[in-house]
């Protein structure tokens, strides 16, 4: 008598034919769902904050403003982003490698640790026992449970990253893939390495701070705290950058058949991230007196520019790969014919394009500029800083993660995307709102408006400070943009929740037949034209020596570089006006 066959731990994806491990899929789902819950809390907090910083509205009282600012920071910069990244790591290491996960039960333990930690932090913050903002600089002291919650969250995340590496080892040993790791997985590896750097810094600083909060050690040096804390605070956003770029490559391939122009170049750019991007943490210490100029300049300029170079490489190769992919599908007309014929009604595509554009044009240019030691003195602690990182973390990363979700809902949750009509324009609303918010903040900061300040009219201060009247206008732009962006985020959350918990099952999917709720990249997978070799040969033969076969992207790159140069040197001019010599 033969023993009954055990059910297979894998299922086969109806779109890609890949083997998906059910345990890994459950972990992807759990992490993605909690990420969206954190996004909801962070978005509500964002609305309250933007209606307070908009001086004409000035909604919250001072204590609640600072409390909600801490809540917003933790939920958006840590919980939403890291939970989503854990989902990306599970997805990349199993689904993209046809592999089984390492110790899935341990995955639930680490997920539990992260969730218990996150709940404790929420409890402490909402109850007013941790009004120390996101950075929690000493000598501000929170309730010990606040620090303990963060430590639990970080330990859980670190274990999960360890499982990611273990899964890679399993995949290699069991030969589930051949040759080098696929590029998207390579991007996830980059994110995981930066996560290790980040979480170790978190442990290094939060463990002594926790001991200080319970009275075991007498004090925590504020300067050492700031230096190590930013190894966590800024590097955590570099995990985002690597994961976001991996998502760009994935969505470019899924939505328009984007090709990888050169594996060596793209991988080299990821390696530059691994080696140099975490040092950007030093940007936050550029006006601190405890460090000499050599440390500041080496960390924020010489080495960090290697990471900037990497971002500029990805900023070129992703759109250029899309352009070449579209041209190889037959869309060869003119400079931008490929862009006009792109699937702009697919939220996975439009969201990804907005992510690339705003991250590069606004986040990238402002980041490099205000990260220059000399220029930093006119930007530090002004609203230019949140103006910059809302363009990178939100317009870049969060937008990319939203775009990816529109594909993950059918691929992982096997549901149709609910409220499909709203989903098609959600990226437009969110991206425009975030652009207005970032620009409003950046211009307000350029007029000297401080960041993290409840009342810029200084109504109860013994001195009078007057800002340029234009500040009222740019703060209104920020406020309107913020309301639009929060509306876009709430629409996204409604779509995700409805789709995942109450959504219509996929049913039978027929290739070539458009279905509301399934992105076109899945119903109409992009394929090259029948005469692709001929097109490829012609593209290379007829292309100019200067532009290569992707002239449209080269034109966009030229616009980017001009904008970069103008903004950068305008800031040097502003600096020279501020500090007139003679």
């Amino acid at each position: 008598m033969s023993a009954p066959a055990l059910p297979s731990p894998f299922r086969t994806c109806v779109f890609t034919g890949r083997r998906i491990h059910k345990d890994a899929e459950a972990l992807v789902k759990a992490n993605a769902v909690v990420a969206v819950v954190a996004l909801l809390i962070g978005a509500i907090a964002a609305l309250l904050l933007v209606l307070t910083r908009w001086q004409a509205v000035h909604l919250l009282p001072a204590d609640w403003y600072y409390r909600i600012l801490g809540v917003h920071g933790m939920n958006m910069l840590i919980f939403f982003i890291i939970y989503f990244e854990m989902a990306v790591l599970w997805f990349a290491s199993t689904a993209l490698l046809n592999a089984r996960p390492a110790a899935p039960r341990l995955g639930w333990v680490s997920f539990g640790l992260m969730s218990v930690g996150a709940l404790i932090v929420e409890w402490m913050q909402w109850s007013g026992k941790a009004d120390v903002l996101f950075t929690s600089y000493p000598p501000l002291k929170a309730h010990p449970l606040f620090y303990l919650g963060i430590i639990l969250f970080a330990v859980g995340a670190l274990i999960m990253v360890g499982q990611f590496f273990a899964t890679l080892v399993i995949a290699k040993r069991e030969k589930t893939y051949e040759g080098s790791l696929p590029l998207v997985v390579y991007g996830a590896v980059t994110a995981a390495i930066i996560a290790v750097i980040t979480l170790l810094h978190g442990a290094m600083i939060y463990i002594p701070t926790f001991l200080w909060s319970i009275g075991v050690i007498e004090s925590v040096d504020p300067q050492i705290y700031r230096m190590i804390w930013w190894g966590l605070g800024h590097s955590s956003q570099q995990i985002n950058v690597a994961a976001m770029v991996a998502v760009w490559y994935m969505l470019a391939a899924l939505t328009v058949g984007g090709v990888v122009l050169n594996e060596k170049v793209s991988r080299s750019a990821f390696v530059l991230y691994v080696l140099f991007i975490s040092m950007a943490s030093a940007h936050h210490l550029l006006v601190d007196p405890g460090f000499g100029p050599a440390w500041k300049i080496v960390n924020t300029s010489y080495f960090m520019y290697m990471a900037v170079l990497a971002s500029m490489i990805h900023g070129f190769t992703v759109p250029a790969g899309m352009e070449l992919g579209m041209r190889l599908r037959g869309y060869t007309q003119g400079l931008f014919g490929w862009l006009r014929r792109a699937p702009w009604g697919d939220p996975g595509f439009s969201g990804m394009v907005f992510s690339v554009v705003v991250f590069g044009f606004v986040g990238g240019i402002t980041g490099v500029t205000i990260g220059t030691e000399q220029i930093n003195i006119i930007a530090h602690n002004t609203m230019r800083i949140p103006g910059h990182f809302h363009a990178t973390v939100v317009s870049g990363t969060a937008m990319a993660f939203m775009a990816a979700t529109y594909y993950l809902i059918p691929l992982v949750f096997r549901r149709k995307v609910a409220f499909w009509a709203a989903a098609r324009w959600q990226p437009y609303l969110f991206a425009l709102g975030m652009l207005l918010l970032s620009m409003g903040m950046t211009f307000a900061g350029s007029f000297g408006v401080p960041r993290r300040h409840w009342d810029i009219s200084f109504s109860q201060a013994p001195f009078s400070v007057q800002f340029d009247p234009a500040v009222d206008l740019v703060l209104a732009v920020m406020g309107i943009g913020g309301i639009m962006a929060v509306t876009g985020a709430l629409i996204f959350i409604a779509i995700a929740v409805k789709s995942v918990f109450f959504g219509e099952p996929l049913g039978e999917v027929v290739r070539g037949v458009a279905v509301a709720g399934i992105p076109q990249g899945l119903t109409h997978p992009p394929v090259h034209a029948a005469n692709v070799d001929e097109i490829n040969e012609r593209l290379h033969r007829e292309s100019s020596r200067w532009t290569g076969p992707t002239p449209g992207t080269m034109a966009l790159v030229a616009v980017f570089l001009v904008a970069f140069v103008v903004y950068y040197f305008t800031n040097w001019k502003l600096l020279s006006v501020l500090w007139k010599v003679g």
Binding site: I193, M227, S268, L275, A282, N299
Partner: protein
């Protein structure tokens, strides 16, 4: 006469840079070392070697 069996070609090893880039744990080690030496270690030394300020 039967044709001779084709001799299997030895598998070509990937180039050195590809092997280095494929070594995930080497990259992890390098990322940690560079950050902990250039940012954290050097930064700590800068702070700890700062002379004590004297009150006027």
């Amino acid at each position: 006469m039967p044709s001779p069996e084709p001799t299997p070609q030895p598998e070509e090893s990937p180039p050195l840079m590809q092997r280095l880039f494929d070594n995930v744990f080497l990259l992890l080690a390098l990322g940690l070392v560079i950050m902990f030496v250039v940012y954290t270690g050097w930064g700590m030394w800068e702070i700890l070697s700062m002379p004590q300020g004297t009150l006027p």
